[in-house]
Symmetry: C3
Subunit: 306 residues, 3 copies
């Protein structure tokens, strides 16, 4: 049975079955990645455009590798290009892409809703690689894949997302996905970085990291992105680290070992101490590997209509 | 019978037969673009370098798609690169390319004659993707393809090119090609933007857009590129729009429906009003699709010596 | 018999047998480059990342062509990317690459030792495309290939490297490689640009270009890179040219014809006069061609473990 949608715009409203199908398909591609020849002919003759209006290294490279390993033709279309302008021009860009007979578009854009807009304008399959502070579904899917791989399940686990919840598309996609899969989800961070309406999504809120650590199986530690804040939401990095930094000392106070995720790149010794990032409880590098497999799964399922 | 030249440097002097061969070949590739798998193995094993000394999104992407769909290997070589310098270095760059055993070079350069120069220095097939204010032959070929597709013929039609004729390589290539194909060609724009010698090319000149609209089948509306003018040739965009902007009102005064072309991207409500750009008389998006097919045809004909 | 190392980090310590194996393998690939289809399926399904922390046109393009002609999948990862930071982040970048299951990495980096560091952190084959003022082994290999092609041998020849020896990775790699192959090596340049300890490497030093010209078969003329000097090491380009510029006049004083190499791009009429660069004694363009063949050989030998 194919996915319910021809696009992957977000995890809000995606069914448990669809998430499970993506994660199960990713397991097959994880096996492909262990082979000497990591390439399959699945998307041969298909053209995929990576349309990145925000610069990105990791996500773009991860998608590009996934695309090439499925034998697709890849065209990179970056934002520095002169003819990309604000406002309605996304529509013009989209229609141009449409006319060039592109099969799939992977898009990152600073505006929430940009991928959704694109899916209404053109016929290609759209994959949202991050739209403003809205969603980043493949990141949440690879986070869930990594947790499921470690614990053998998702249902019944307790996951806390810690950091700048208000500006994080990673947080929002994780909340939607994890809730659907039966996970108990909480968020933690300074009051200024937690949206007031967040509890409506069915998540608990912690304002002290010590309280979160008492109950969770997994801490998904967000990157502090000073560049994305229009005004300062906390006094200093030093203070952030003092109250919310995940350190060995803090984790040692938990009764059971806590698994650490981080979307990368880590600000070492800011939101996460270097020794924890490199410890056996950190699955950060595993997330990178799983990211390629999950993206191959999404591209495969959407690109073949399966 | 192959094309007369191993290169596509411009449409000046290209025979009617050669233009017809390119347009007819493009028709076959338009059919390829409608297939689920839009790829043919024609140029497998050939290496094409896209050598863009001026930044470009649409033209470069269109060429790159055409190249990949012919199964060529593509290397992008952009102008930001540190070793590209002014003056004689084009020669050095060219010789390096020569030695790397490149089969074809698609080049855009700010200097008129750059592609011609290159074709004298190296053995690869050269395709001019725009050289200064001189020629942009694939743009004119796709314009002609689009007109022929709409009217079923070129001969006997009446086409007016409107805008900054003096600085436009699109205008010049269109004039050469359309004249060869038996089209009645005129240009229209402010006096400061019409070269005095233009009538020697066998084109009529209109200084009032109303006069042009009375007689034409097709208006090819050029993009106003303020950035390319070293000094102001007209007082303001507002005034340009007032006198030369193509609006619904102006078009309604014509006795027959007028077909609109534009090389893109459109400055909406400057040289062309948004509603006209999106109307059923506009073939702007069709031009984008045909651009890929026409470029596939040119690459195929030159790359295989057919 | 395969190469002794899984990586190509430098020519220091590389055995005569290994150098000979690379040069002999490059001869086969030179033949491939003369065929109409210059592509072989050797590295099909392998993924190579070009990781250039310093911008480069020629070396990157040469590697990219070599990679594509071996049918590898190529991902370019350039330094402008936002997540690339100084210091320990090279480690984080490396581990990410590791996790993405990349087979080979070609890296250029401003820090001496960067490629060596990378080879200790990840499992992919590493090829050093230049690390600070340390080594640039493929450049030296292509220089040696070009000399051997001309003279039919390396042993017994007399080669002088002239220019900014102190800051040149090309010079150092050439010294190591040429010495191993039994060549008499000397360096020549202003005192400020010759490291004091250079004689320990078994090379002679000339401070007057006239003295070098008397004895050599080959002059390898380095590019004067003002941008890489933190402080001026010679008064002016004019003075450099006056004392060290290689001109027809100077060469005419030699008893036998002297072969000229230059890693490119040439500062014409600075370190090398234009007429000498274009003369029959210059092998500069031959170096470019051989560069692709030598890089194909290195990628082939490392990528297949042969």
């Amino acid at each position: 049975m194919p996915l319910a949608s021809r696009h992957l715009l977000g995890l809000e409203g995606m069914s448990k079955n669809d998430i499970q199908l993506i994660l199960d398909t990713a397991t097959s591609f994880r096996e492909v990645l262990e082979r000497p020849i990591k390439k399959v002919p699945t998307l041969q003759g298909k053209t995929i455009v990576n349309l990145f209006f925000e610069s990105s290294t990791r996500t773009r490279t991860s998608f590009e590798l996934a695309e090439r390993r499925l034998s697709a033709d890849v065209v990179n279309f970056s934002a520095e290009s002169s003819s990309v302008r604000k406002g309605e021009t996304l529509k013009d860009t989209a229609r141009n892409i449409e006319m060039m007979k592109i099969d799939m578009v992977v898009m990152r854009h600073a505006a929430a809703g940009a991928a959704h807009f694109l899916s209404n304008v053109i016929g290609a399959n759209i994959i949202n690689a991050g739209d403003g502070a809205h969603e980043h579904p493949t990141q949440a899917l690879l986070d869930m894949y990594t947790i499921r791989e470690k614990f053998g399940k998702l249902e019944g686990l307790n996951v806390c997302i810690i950091g700048d919840i208000a500006h994080s598309r990673v947080a929002l996609s994780n909340i939607y996905g994890l809730k659907t899969m039966g996970v108990t989800v909480s968020v933690c961070g300074p009051k200024t970085l937690i949206p007031k309406e967040i509890e409506r999504l069915g998540v608990d809120v912690f304002y002290r990291v010590e309280d979160a650590i008492k109950v969770v199986d997994v801490l998904n530690v967000l990157r502090i992105q000073l560049e994305r804040q229009n005004r300062p939401y906390f006094p200093s990095l030093r203070e952030y680290r003092q109250y919310f930094g995940i350190t060995r000392e803090r984790l040692d106070k938990a009764e059971r070992p806590i698994t650490i995720l981080h979307p990368g790149p880590v600000n070492r010794d800011v939101e996460l101490s270097a020794d924890v990032a490199d410890s056996e409880h950190s699955l950060i590098l595993q997330q990178v590997l799983n990211g390629v497999a999950v993206r191959m799964a999404v591209l495969y399922l959407l690109g073949t209509g399966k």
